[in-house]
């Protein structure tokens, strides 16, 4: 459970987030949706502490992240796995070394155990025979999956995915969505997924927060979202013709 309370964030006078409060539940996929530039990535980066919030609090199971010093934060960060919008794999390291990285940093496991864990994580995201390739040699979807494998290497309690299926074909996108859902339920973790893909919203949206111009505009689930009469949300949801048709049925 992660609770974001009254968070404001501005960059050199330009306010991006306005008084955002959201609760993210454990064992569920919590979606953050919104138009491009609405502040979704900034919000996730504030939650994990890559951006310092101006005010407000962020609690990880009751532990207030904003009030922690560097060392205490490090403790929490070991419990966080994150998939970045651009995968952010280390491009000087092979796939295997990428996934090994957090393991070597934080565990005292033997080299064999580490390799076992790496292979387990890769299998979990349906990849094999890629151990010794470099990120540049993988397709975008494979990079995303390696990103997920790296994010789950340390068995995180909290998983953040920034647009896990952007730039992928719908089929691969759904594979990744399902993967994230499985992992979330299997390990009972708090998962936050940023997306602007209506496919994933309808597929995995148990809990959806809609961000509009840096404010939390609406909160609900995938059934409620179809019945909403909130104008900005409707504009977002029914932007595509196919969704408009869907609405008329």
């Amino acid at each position: 459970m992660i609770e974001v309370k009254n968070v404001n964030k501005s960059f050199s006078g330009n306010q991006i987030l306005h008084d955002v409060s959201i609760g993210f539940k454990k064992g569920e996929i919590n979606l953050i949706i919104g138009a491009s530039g609405s502040g979704k990535s900034v919000l996730t980066k504030c939650i994990v502490g890559l951006h310092e919030v101006d005010n407000g609090s962020i609690e990880y199971d009751g532990r207030d992240f904003t009030k922690m010093n560097f060392k205490e934060r490090k403790g929490i960060r070991k419990e966080i796995g994150m998939l970045f919008q651009g995968s952010a794999l280390f491009d000087s390291l092979t796939v295997e070394e990428n996934i090994k990285f957090p393991l070597e940093m934080y565990t005292k496991k033997s080299q064999e155990e580490i390799i076992d864990r790496v292979n387990f994580c890769l299998q979990r995201v349906n990849l094999d025979n890629v151990n010794h390739l470099y990120p540049a040699e993988l397709s975008g979807g494979m990079q995303k999956r390696v990103g997920i494998a790296r994010a789950i290497a340390l068995n995180p309690k909290y998983l953040f995915c920034d647009e896990p299926n952007s730039g992928l074909d719908p089929q691969t996108g759904i594979v990744i969505d399902n993967l994230i859902q499985e992992i979330t339920e299997e390990y009972n973790i708090t998962t936050i997924v940023v997306t602007h893909d209506m496919n994933s919203v309808m597929e995995t949206g148990d809990h959806i927060s809609f961000i509009y111009k840096g404010r939390k505009w609406w909160e609900g689930n995938k059934h409620e979202i179809l019945k909403t009469d909130n104008k900005e949300l409707c504009d977002f949801v029914y932007a595509s013709r196919i969704m408009q048709k869907f609405r008329n049925i």
Partner: protein
């Protein structure tokens, strides 16, 4: 107004630079990983520069020797002055300062674009998320490798510069190899080399840390990586020249 702005932004950057250095020299999280990084940096920064430095040193040694010879055609001046002048200019300035300026271009732009690319593709954020002190993990090994390796490159450049002059002396009619060698050995002071190496250590820190700073705070896209890399070479060169002046004043006088 403009002047005020310039002063403010200069102080802003200097302050931010030293804050970054403060993070770089924090106790590392994992010595084993850092050691591995230092070794790989030694290889990529050091070994990768040997060829370029060899070519430049040989040719510069040869040209300095030729120019001194062509300017010393007064029969009253002893021929060994040619070797002496080549040696002195190489040990005091060519090897430490000029080679450092060249390395600032080669290594510096490389570091700025590598770290800049890691910044804009969120790899630095990924390190931070894993609880890694990214400044220390990325920059400390580079500074350490440079401090260990650039002095060696400088000595190597001194030897090759002298060799360049020697090759000229083999084929030159104006003076003999014996004159040249006598010149190389004439009034040799070990302190000159120590002075050169002290300078080099400071240059090594500048060559790695300034580009690292520019790369680390890159914002935007691919275009900005290029800009960071250019800026870092310009500032590193200026800083090298200033350090050179200050240290020469302090050490030689």
């Amino acid at each position: 107004m403009f002047y005020n702005y310039l002063m403010l932004s200069t102080f802003h950057h200097i302050g931010k630079y030293f804050l970054l250095l403060g993070r770089v020299f924090k106790k590392p999280d994992n010595f084993k990983l850092i050691k591995k990084q230092i070794i790989s940096e030694l290889y990529s920064l050091g070994i990768g520069s040997l060829g370029l430095i060899a070519i430049i040193s040989l040719f510069m040694g040869a040209v300095i020797c030729l120019q001194t010879a062509s300017n010393l055609n007064n029969p009253l001046l002893p021929a060994y002055l040619i070797g002496f002048a080549t040696r002195e200019s190489f040990i005091l300035e060519m090897a430490p300062t000029v080679m450092s300026l060249i390395l600032a271009g080669k290594i510096g732009s490389n570091i700025a674009s590598e770290i800049g690319a890691m910044r804009i593709t969120e790899q630095i954020d990924a390190l931070e998320i894993m609880g890694v002190n990214s400044a220390s993990y990325l920059i400390f090994p580079k500074i350490t490798a440079a401090i260990l390796f650039i002095p060696i490159i400088v000595i190597y450049s001194m030897v090759l510069g002298a060799l360049g002059g020697f090759i000229v002396s083999m084929y030159s009619s104006g003076f003999t190899m014996e004159d040249y060698i006598q010149g190389l050995r004439y009034d040799f002071k070990v302190f000159s080399i120590i002075y050169a190496l002290i300078k080099t250590v400071f240059f090594a820190v500048a060559i790695t840390s300034i580009p690292a700073y520019h790369g680390y705070y890159t914002r935007g896209g691919a275009l900005e990586i290029g800009k960071s890399s250019t800026k870092s070479v310009v500032y590193t060169s200026i800083v090298i020249l200033i350090i050179n002046y200050v240290l020469t004043q302090l050490l030689l006088l």
